[in-house]
Symmetry: C2
Amino acid sequence: MSIQARRERERAERERLIITAARTLAEAEGWEAVTTRRLAERVEYSQPVLYSHFKGKDAIMAAVAVEGCADMAVDLRAARTSTDDPRQALAAVGAAYAGFAERRPALYDAMFSLIVDLPFATPEAPAPLQAAFGELSQALEPLAGDDDLGLLTETFWSGLHGLVTLMRSGRLPREAHERRLAILVDRFSQRP
Amino acid sequence: MSIQARRERERAERERLIITAARTLAEAEGWEAVTTRRLAERVEYSQPVLYSHFKGKDAIMAAVAVEGCADMAVDLRAARTSTDDPRQALAAVGAAYAGFAERRPALYDAMFSLIVDLPFATPEAPAPLQAAFGELSQALEPLAGDDDLGLLTETFWSGLHGLVTLMRSGRLPREAHERRLAILVDRFSQRP
DNA sequence: CGACAACTCTAGCACCGCTAGCTCTCCTGT
DNA sequence: ACAGGAGAGCTAGCGGTGCTAGAGTTGTCG
Protein backbone atom coordinates (compact mmCIF):
# COMPACT_ATOMS: atom_id res chain seq x y z
CA MET A 1 0.00 0.00 0.00
CA SER A 2 2.82 2.38 0.85
CA ILE A 3 4.55 1.70 -2.43
CA GLN A 4 1.41 2.69 -4.26
CA ALA A 5 1.24 5.83 -2.17
CA ARG A 6 4.81 6.79 -2.92
CA ARG A 7 4.23 6.32 -6.61
CA GLU A 8 1.20 8.49 -6.59
CA ARG A 9 3.07 11.14 -4.65
CA GLU A 10 5.93 11.09 -7.12
CA ARG A 11 3.47 11.31 -9.96
CA ALA A 12 1.83 14.31 -8.41
CA GLU A 13 5.20 15.97 -7.92
CA ARG A 14 6.09 15.40 -11.51
CA GLU A 15 2.78 16.87 -12.59
CA ARG A 16 3.53 20.01 -10.60
CA LEU A 17 6.98 20.07 -12.16
CA ILE A 18 5.42 20.04 -15.62
CA ILE A 19 3.01 22.83 -14.77
CA THR A 20 5.63 25.11 -13.28
CA ALA A 21 8.02 24.40 -16.14
CA ALA A 22 5.32 25.31 -18.63
CA ARG A 23 4.51 28.45 -16.72
CA THR A 24 8.13 29.50 -16.38
CA LEU A 25 8.85 28.90 -20.04
CA ALA A 26 5.69 30.71 -21.12
CA GLU A 27 6.38 33.73 -18.94
CA ALA A 28 9.96 33.90 -20.17
CA GLU A 29 9.40 33.42 -23.89
CA GLY A 30 5.67 33.35 -24.58
CA TRP A 31 3.36 30.45 -25.31
CA GLU A 32 4.54 30.02 -28.87
CA ALA A 33 7.88 28.97 -27.40
CA VAL A 34 6.23 26.32 -25.23
CA THR A 35 6.37 23.24 -27.41
CA THR A 36 5.92 19.73 -26.09
CA ARG A 37 9.51 18.95 -27.04
CA ARG A 38 11.02 21.88 -25.19
CA LEU A 39 8.79 21.29 -22.23
CA ALA A 40 9.76 17.62 -22.08
CA GLU A 41 13.41 18.63 -22.21
CA ARG A 42 12.93 21.05 -19.34
CA VAL A 43 11.39 18.46 -17.05
CA GLU A 44 13.94 15.89 -18.22
CA TYR A 45 11.43 13.35 -19.44
CA SER A 46 10.38 12.31 -22.89
CA GLN A 47 7.43 13.83 -24.69
CA PRO A 48 4.94 10.99 -24.15
CA VAL A 49 5.24 11.44 -20.38
CA LEU A 50 3.43 14.75 -20.74
CA TYR A 51 0.53 12.93 -22.32
CA SER A 52 0.29 10.49 -19.42
CA HIS A 53 -0.46 13.50 -17.21
CA PHE A 54 -2.44 15.74 -19.53
CA LYS A 55 -4.71 15.10 -22.46
CA GLY A 56 -2.71 17.51 -24.57
CA LYS A 57 -0.97 20.84 -24.64
CA ASP A 58 -4.25 22.64 -24.03
CA ALA A 59 -4.75 20.81 -20.76
CA ILE A 60 -1.31 21.89 -19.58
CA MET A 61 -2.16 25.47 -20.43
CA ALA A 62 -5.43 25.12 -18.57
CA ALA A 63 -3.58 24.00 -15.46
CA VAL A 64 -1.29 27.01 -15.72
CA ALA A 65 -4.32 29.23 -16.23
CA VAL A 66 -5.90 28.06 -13.00
CA GLU A 67 -2.73 28.94 -11.13
CA GLY A 68 -2.78 32.32 -12.80
CA CYS A 69 -6.34 32.95 -11.64
CA ALA A 70 -5.30 32.37 -8.07
CA ASP A 71 -2.47 34.88 -8.44
CA MET A 72 -4.75 37.43 -10.00
CA ALA A 73 -7.36 36.98 -7.30
CA VAL A 74 -4.73 37.87 -4.72
CA ASP A 75 -3.81 41.04 -6.58
CA LEU A 76 -7.42 42.07 -7.03
CA ARG A 77 -8.27 41.45 -3.40
CA ALA A 78 -5.36 43.59 -2.25
CA ALA A 79 -6.48 46.40 -4.52
CA ARG A 80 -10.11 46.17 -3.51
CA THR A 81 -9.37 46.32 0.21
CA SER A 82 -6.82 49.10 -0.11
CA THR A 83 -9.45 51.79 0.41
CA ASP A 84 -12.94 52.23 1.78
CA ASP A 85 -14.17 54.49 -0.94
CA PRO A 86 -16.06 52.36 -3.47
CA ARG A 87 -14.96 54.37 -6.48
CA GLN A 88 -11.34 54.40 -5.49
CA ALA A 89 -11.60 50.70 -4.84
CA LEU A 90 -13.02 50.07 -8.30
CA ALA A 91 -10.28 52.16 -9.86
CA ALA A 92 -7.67 50.24 -7.90
CA VAL A 93 -9.14 46.91 -8.97
CA GLY A 94 -9.21 47.99 -12.59
CA ALA A 95 -5.61 49.12 -12.41
CA ALA A 96 -4.61 45.88 -10.69
CA TYR A 97 -6.32 43.85 -13.40
CA ALA A 98 -4.59 45.74 -16.17
CA GLY A 99 -1.30 45.63 -14.30
CA PHE A 100 -1.53 41.88 -13.97
CA ALA A 101 -2.16 41.47 -17.68
CA GLU A 102 0.76 43.75 -18.44
CA ARG A 103 3.17 42.14 -16.02
CA ARG A 104 2.29 38.53 -16.81
CA PRO A 105 1.06 38.45 -20.36
CA ALA A 106 1.56 34.72 -20.85
CA LEU A 107 -0.42 33.88 -17.77
CA TYR A 108 -3.14 36.27 -18.83
CA ASP A 109 -3.36 34.76 -22.28
CA ALA A 110 -3.72 31.26 -20.90
CA MET A 111 -6.50 32.47 -18.64
CA PHE A 112 -8.53 34.63 -20.93
CA SER A 113 -7.34 34.53 -24.51
CA LEU A 114 -6.14 31.15 -25.63
CA ILE A 115 -7.64 27.92 -24.41
CA VAL A 116 -11.27 27.03 -24.02
CA ASP A 117 -11.06 23.74 -22.14
CA LEU A 118 -11.85 25.36 -18.81
CA PRO A 119 -15.47 25.63 -17.69
CA PHE A 120 -16.07 29.30 -17.02
CA ALA A 121 -19.44 30.70 -16.18
CA THR A 122 -20.73 27.60 -14.43
CA PRO A 123 -20.61 26.21 -10.90
CA GLU A 124 -17.97 23.73 -12.10
CA ALA A 125 -15.55 26.55 -12.86
CA PRO A 126 -12.29 26.19 -10.90
CA ALA A 127 -12.37 27.89 -7.52
CA PRO A 128 -9.51 30.32 -8.22
CA LEU A 129 -11.35 31.54 -11.29
CA GLN A 130 -14.50 32.13 -9.29
CA ALA A 131 -12.41 33.90 -6.69
CA ALA A 132 -10.99 36.32 -9.22
CA PHE A 133 -14.43 37.00 -10.66
CA GLY A 134 -15.75 37.42 -7.13
CA GLU A 135 -13.25 40.17 -6.43
CA LEU A 136 -14.43 42.14 -9.42
CA SER A 137 -17.98 41.54 -8.32
CA GLN A 138 -17.42 42.73 -4.78
CA ALA A 139 -15.69 45.84 -6.04
CA LEU A 140 -18.74 46.68 -8.14
CA GLU A 141 -21.35 45.77 -5.56
CA PRO A 142 -21.58 49.16 -3.84
CA LEU A 143 -21.96 50.82 -7.22
CA ALA A 144 -24.34 48.40 -8.89
CA GLY A 145 -27.52 50.39 -8.51
CA ASP A 146 -30.42 48.66 -10.21
CA ASP A 147 -28.30 46.48 -12.46
CA ASP A 148 -27.89 42.76 -11.93
CA LEU A 149 -24.53 42.39 -10.18
CA GLY A 150 -23.45 39.30 -12.11
CA LEU A 151 -24.14 40.84 -15.47
CA LEU A 152 -22.61 44.13 -14.43
CA THR A 153 -19.45 42.33 -13.38
CA GLU A 154 -19.29 40.44 -16.65
CA THR A 155 -19.68 43.67 -18.57
CA PHE A 156 -17.04 45.54 -16.57
CA TRP A 157 -14.73 42.56 -16.94
CA SER A 158 -15.30 42.68 -20.69
CA GLY A 159 -14.28 46.31 -20.73
CA LEU A 160 -11.05 45.58 -18.90
CA HIS A 161 -10.35 42.58 -21.07
CA GLY A 162 -10.94 44.56 -24.23
CA LEU A 163 -8.68 47.39 -23.13
CA VAL A 164 -5.92 45.01 -22.21
CA THR A 165 -6.03 42.78 -25.28
CA LEU A 166 -6.44 45.58 -27.81
CA MET A 167 -3.55 47.46 -26.25
CA ARG A 168 -1.30 44.46 -26.05
CA SER A 169 -1.95 43.55 -29.67
CA GLY A 170 -0.94 47.04 -30.74
CA ARG A 171 -4.45 48.12 -31.69
CA LEU A 172 -4.67 50.80 -29.01
CA PRO A 173 -1.84 53.21 -28.29
CA ARG A 174 -0.14 52.46 -24.99
CA GLU A 175 0.31 56.01 -23.83
CA ALA A 176 -3.36 56.72 -23.27
CA HIS A 177 -3.95 53.55 -21.30
CA GLU A 178 -4.48 55.21 -17.93
CA ARG A 179 -6.95 57.68 -19.36
CA ARG A 180 -8.98 54.97 -21.06
CA LEU A 181 -9.01 53.01 -17.85
CA ALA A 182 -10.21 56.08 -16.01
CA ILE A 183 -13.06 56.52 -18.47
CA LEU A 184 -14.12 52.91 -18.05
CA VAL A 185 -14.03 53.06 -14.27
CA ASP A 186 -15.86 56.34 -14.30
CA ARG A 187 -18.63 54.97 -16.47
CA PHE A 188 -19.08 52.07 -14.10
CA SER A 189 -19.18 54.33 -11.05
CA GLN A 190 -22.80 55.46 -11.07
CA ARG A 191 -23.11 59.17 -11.76
CA PRO A 192 -23.98 61.41 -8.81
CA MET B 1 3.64 48.30 -72.89
CA SER B 2 0.26 46.62 -73.25
CA ILE B 3 1.77 43.23 -72.53
CA GLN B 4 3.18 44.57 -69.31
CA ALA B 5 -0.23 45.98 -68.48
CA ARG B 6 -1.97 42.69 -69.12
CA ARG B 7 0.48 40.87 -66.89
CA GLU B 8 -0.01 43.30 -64.08
CA ARG B 9 -3.75 43.03 -64.46
CA GLU B 10 -3.58 39.25 -64.34
CA ARG B 11 -1.36 39.43 -61.31
CA ALA B 12 -3.80 41.72 -59.57
CA GLU B 13 -6.65 39.39 -60.41
CA ARG B 14 -4.78 36.46 -58.99
CA GLU B 15 -4.06 38.41 -55.84
CA ARG B 16 -7.75 39.08 -55.43
CA LEU B 17 -8.39 35.41 -56.04
CA ILE B 18 -6.04 34.50 -53.21
CA ILE B 19 -7.64 36.94 -50.82
CA THR B 20 -11.18 35.84 -51.52
CA ALA B 21 -10.18 32.19 -51.36
CA ALA B 22 -8.56 32.78 -47.97
CA ARG B 23 -11.61 34.64 -46.78
CA THR B 24 -14.02 31.99 -48.02
CA LEU B 25 -12.03 29.17 -46.50
CA ALA B 26 -11.65 30.99 -43.20
CA GLU B 27 -15.34 31.82 -42.97
CA ALA B 28 -16.26 28.25 -43.79
CA GLU B 29 -13.82 26.39 -41.56
CA GLY B 30 -11.97 28.91 -39.43
CA TRP B 31 -8.45 30.26 -39.73
CA GLU B 32 -6.83 27.13 -38.37
CA ALA B 33 -8.05 25.40 -41.53
CA VAL B 34 -6.43 28.01 -43.76
CA THR B 35 -3.02 26.55 -44.47
CA THR B 36 -0.80 27.67 -47.29
CA ARG B 37 -1.14 24.24 -48.86
CA ARG B 38 -4.91 24.21 -48.85
CA LEU B 39 -5.05 27.80 -50.00
CA ALA B 40 -2.68 27.09 -52.87
CA GLU B 41 -4.84 24.15 -53.87
CA ARG B 42 -7.95 26.33 -53.88
CA VAL B 43 -6.47 28.91 -56.19
CA GLU B 44 -4.92 26.15 -58.32
CA TYR B 45 -1.37 27.37 -57.97
CA SER B 46 1.58 26.03 -56.04
CA GLN B 47 2.46 27.26 -52.59
CA PRO B 48 5.37 29.54 -53.56
CA VAL B 49 3.04 31.63 -55.70
CA LEU B 50 1.38 32.86 -52.53
CA TYR B 51 4.72 34.16 -51.36
CA SER B 52 5.25 36.10 -54.55
CA HIS B 53 2.14 38.11 -53.64
CA PHE B 54 2.35 38.25 -49.86
CA LYS B 55 5.21 38.22 -47.41
CA GLY B 56 3.59 35.37 -45.52
CA LYS B 57 0.38 33.97 -44.21
CA ASP B 58 -0.02 36.94 -41.86
CA ALA B 59 -0.02 39.35 -44.77
CA ILE B 60 -2.81 37.39 -46.43
CA MET B 61 -4.82 37.57 -43.25
CA ALA B 62 -4.16 41.27 -43.04
CA ALA B 63 -5.56 41.76 -46.53
CA VAL B 64 -8.68 39.82 -45.55
CA ALA B 65 -8.93 41.89 -42.38
CA VAL B 66 -8.97 45.14 -44.35
CA GLU B 67 -11.86 43.83 -46.43
CA GLY B 68 -13.62 42.87 -43.25
CA CYS B 69 -13.26 46.38 -41.86
CA ALA B 70 -14.96 47.79 -44.91
CA ASP B 71 -17.86 45.39 -44.46
CA MET B 72 -18.17 46.22 -40.81
CA ALA B 73 -18.08 49.93 -41.48
CA VAL B 74 -21.08 49.50 -43.77
CA ASP B 75 -23.02 47.65 -41.08
CA LEU B 76 -22.14 50.21 -38.42
CA ARG B 77 -23.10 53.13 -40.60
CA ALA B 78 -26.48 51.60 -41.37
CA ALA B 79 -27.09 51.07 -37.68
CA ARG B 80 -25.97 54.53 -36.70
CA THR B 81 -28.17 56.30 -39.23
CA SER B 82 -31.19 54.12 -38.52
CA THR B 83 -32.48 56.54 -35.88
CA ASP B 84 -32.14 60.12 -34.77
CA ASP B 85 -32.05 59.39 -31.07
CA PRO B 86 -28.40 59.28 -29.96
CA ARG B 87 -28.93 56.54 -27.39
CA GLN B 88 -30.90 54.33 -29.72
CA ALA B 89 -28.23 54.92 -32.32
CA LEU B 90 -25.49 53.85 -29.92
CA ALA B 91 -27.46 50.76 -28.97
CA ALA B 92 -27.97 49.94 -32.63
CA VAL B 93 -24.28 50.39 -33.38
CA GLY B 94 -23.32 48.17 -30.45
CA ALA B 95 -25.73 45.49 -31.59
CA ALA B 96 -24.44 45.76 -35.15
CA TYR B 97 -20.85 45.39 -33.95
CA ALA B 98 -21.66 42.31 -31.89
CA GLY B 99 -23.80 40.90 -34.68
CA PHE B 100 -20.96 41.26 -37.15
CA ALA B 101 -18.60 39.43 -34.82
CA GLU B 102 -21.15 36.70 -34.34
CA ARG B 103 -22.03 36.31 -37.99
CA ARG B 104 -18.49 36.47 -39.35
CA PRO B 105 -16.21 35.20 -36.63
CA ALA B 106 -13.28 34.46 -38.90
CA LEU B 107 -13.35 37.93 -40.38
CA TYR B 108 -13.60 39.42 -36.92
CA ASP B 109 -10.64 37.42 -35.67
CA ALA B 110 -8.47 38.54 -38.53
CA MET B 111 -9.40 42.14 -37.84
CA PHE B 112 -9.16 42.31 -34.09
CA SER B 113 -7.81 39.14 -32.55
CA LEU B 114 -5.13 37.47 -34.56
CA ILE B 115 -2.65 39.40 -36.62
CA VAL B 116 -0.68 42.45 -35.70
CA ASP B 117 0.89 43.45 -39.00
CA LEU B 118 -1.68 46.16 -39.63
CA PRO B 119 -1.01 49.66 -38.39
CA PHE B 120 -3.92 50.59 -36.18
CA ALA B 121 -4.04 53.76 -34.17
CA THR B 122 -1.99 55.84 -36.61
CA PRO B 123 -2.68 57.94 -39.67
CA GLU B 124 -1.24 55.09 -41.79
CA ALA B 125 -4.04 52.76 -40.71
CA PRO B 126 -6.00 51.45 -43.71
CA ALA B 127 -8.93 53.63 -44.64
CA PRO B 128 -11.62 50.96 -44.07
CA LEU B 129 -10.34 50.49 -40.56
CA GLN B 130 -10.51 54.21 -39.87
CA ALA B 131 -13.98 54.24 -41.35
CA ALA B 132 -15.20 51.56 -38.96
CA PHE B 133 -13.66 53.36 -36.00
CA GLY B 134 -15.17 56.60 -37.24
CA GLU B 135 -18.64 55.12 -37.16
CA LEU B 136 -18.25 54.18 -33.53
CA SER B 137 -16.89 57.62 -32.87
CA GLN B 138 -19.76 59.42 -34.55
CA ALA B 139 -22.25 57.32 -32.66
CA LEU B 140 -20.66 58.38 -29.39
CA GLU B 141 -20.16 62.03 -30.26
CA PRO B 142 -23.55 63.33 -29.08
CA LEU B 143 -23.05 61.52 -25.77
CA ALA B 144 -19.41 62.30 -25.12
CA GLY B 145 -19.87 65.05 -22.58
CA ASP B 146 -16.53 66.21 -21.21
CA ASP B 147 -14.59 63.14 -22.24
CA ASP B 148 -12.13 63.09 -25.11
CA LEU B 149 -14.02 61.60 -28.02
CA GLY B 150 -11.13 59.51 -29.30
CA LEU B 151 -10.41 57.94 -25.95
CA LEU B 152 -14.09 57.43 -25.27
CA THR B 153 -14.47 55.62 -28.56
CA GLU B 154 -11.48 53.42 -27.82
CA THR B 155 -12.91 52.54 -24.43
CA PHE B 156 -16.37 51.76 -25.77
CA TRP B 157 -14.79 49.70 -28.52
CA SER B 158 -12.84 47.80 -25.89
CA GLY B 159 -16.05 47.02 -24.08
CA LEU B 160 -17.65 45.66 -27.20
CA HIS B 161 -14.55 43.71 -28.11
CA GLY B 162 -14.33 42.21 -24.66
CA LEU B 163 -17.96 41.18 -24.64
CA VAL B 164 -17.66 39.58 -28.03
CA THR B 165 -14.40 37.72 -27.51
CA LEU B 166 -15.20 36.46 -24.02
CA MET B 167 -18.56 35.21 -25.18
CA ARG B 168 -17.22 33.57 -28.28
CA SER B 169 -14.50 31.77 -26.32
CA GLY B 170 -17.12 30.36 -23.97
CA ARG B 171 -16.10 32.50 -21.02
CA LEU B 172 -19.39 34.40 -20.88
CA PRO B 173 -22.75 32.68 -21.19
CA ARG B 174 -24.44 33.40 -24.46
CA GLU B 175 -27.95 33.81 -23.18
CA ALA B 176 -27.30 37.03 -21.28
CA HIS B 177 -25.55 38.69 -24.21
CA GLU B 178 -28.26 41.22 -24.95
CA ARG B 179 -28.50 42.28 -21.34
CA ARG B 180 -24.76 42.77 -21.01
CA LEU B 181 -24.77 44.79 -24.20
CA ALA B 182 -27.59 46.90 -22.81
CA ILE B 183 -25.60 47.58 -19.66
CA LEU B 184 -22.55 48.62 -21.65
CA VAL B 185 -24.52 50.93 -23.92
CA ASP B 186 -26.35 52.36 -20.95
CA ARG B 187 -23.10 53.15 -19.15
CA PHE B 188 -21.83 54.96 -22.19
CA SER B 189 -25.01 56.99 -22.59
CA GLN B 190 -24.44 59.83 -20.16
CA ARG B 191 -26.84 59.72 -17.21
CA PRO B 192 -29.56 62.39 -17.21
C1' DC C 1 14.25 -16.34 -8.43
C1' DG C 2 11.36 -15.95 -12.40
C1' DA C 3 7.12 -13.94 -14.44
C1' DC C 4 4.38 -10.32 -14.96
C1' DA C 5 2.76 -5.60 -14.99
C1' DA C 6 3.63 -0.90 -15.20
C1' DC C 7 6.10 2.61 -16.99
C1' DT C 8 9.16 5.27 -20.20
C1' DC C 9 11.58 5.75 -24.33
C1' DT C 10 12.62 5.67 -29.39
C1' DA C 11 10.89 6.42 -33.63
C1' DG C 12 7.64 7.98 -36.55
C1' DC C 13 3.08 10.02 -38.47
C1' DA C 14 0.84 13.80 -40.75
C1' DC C 15 0.92 18.23 -40.75
C1' DC C 16 2.73 23.27 -40.54
C1' DG C 17 5.11 27.90 -42.74
C1' DC C 18 8.45 28.85 -45.78
C1' DT C 19 12.30 28.67 -49.57
C1' DA C 20 16.21 27.12 -52.76
C1' DG C 21 16.87 26.09 -57.23
C1' DC C 22 15.56 23.87 -61.56
C1' DT C 23 12.56 24.13 -65.74
C1' DC C 24 10.01 25.89 -69.04
C1' DT C 25 7.56 29.38 -71.28
C1' DC C 26 7.19 33.50 -73.69
C1' DC C 27 8.85 38.12 -74.95
C1' DT C 28 12.58 40.60 -77.14
C1' DG C 29 16.29 42.23 -80.37
C1' DT C 30 18.66 41.13 -84.38
C1' DA D 1 12.32 33.99 -88.35
C1' DC D 2 14.91 32.76 -84.83
C1' DA D 3 18.36 32.56 -80.83
C1' DG D 4 18.85 34.32 -76.45
C1' DG D 5 17.53 35.72 -72.08
C1' DA D 6 14.51 37.06 -68.39
C1' DG D 7 10.94 35.93 -65.53
C1' DA D 8 7.49 33.02 -63.63
C1' DG D 9 5.94 28.70 -61.47
C1' DC D 10 7.04 24.29 -60.20
C1' DT D 11 9.11 20.27 -57.44
C1' DA D 12 11.30 19.05 -53.53
C1' DG D 13 12.85 19.79 -49.14
C1' DC D 14 14.06 22.12 -44.44
C1' DG D 15 13.19 22.48 -39.74
C1' DG D 16 9.61 22.63 -36.99
C1' DT D 17 4.71 21.27 -34.70
C1' DG D 18 1.27 18.12 -31.65
C1' DC D 19 0.64 13.60 -30.82
C1' DT D 20 1.06 8.21 -30.65
C1' DA D 21 2.22 3.17 -31.59
C1' DG D 22 5.04 -0.16 -30.10
C1' DA D 23 9.43 -1.69 -28.25
C1' DG D 24 12.17 -2.15 -24.20
C1' DT D 25 13.35 -1.66 -19.46
C1' DT D 26 12.48 -1.49 -14.73
C1' DG D 27 10.80 -2.73 -10.40
C1' DT D 28 7.27 -5.65 -7.76
C1' DC D 29 5.19 -9.60 -6.25
C1' DG D 30 4.02 -14.79 -5.96
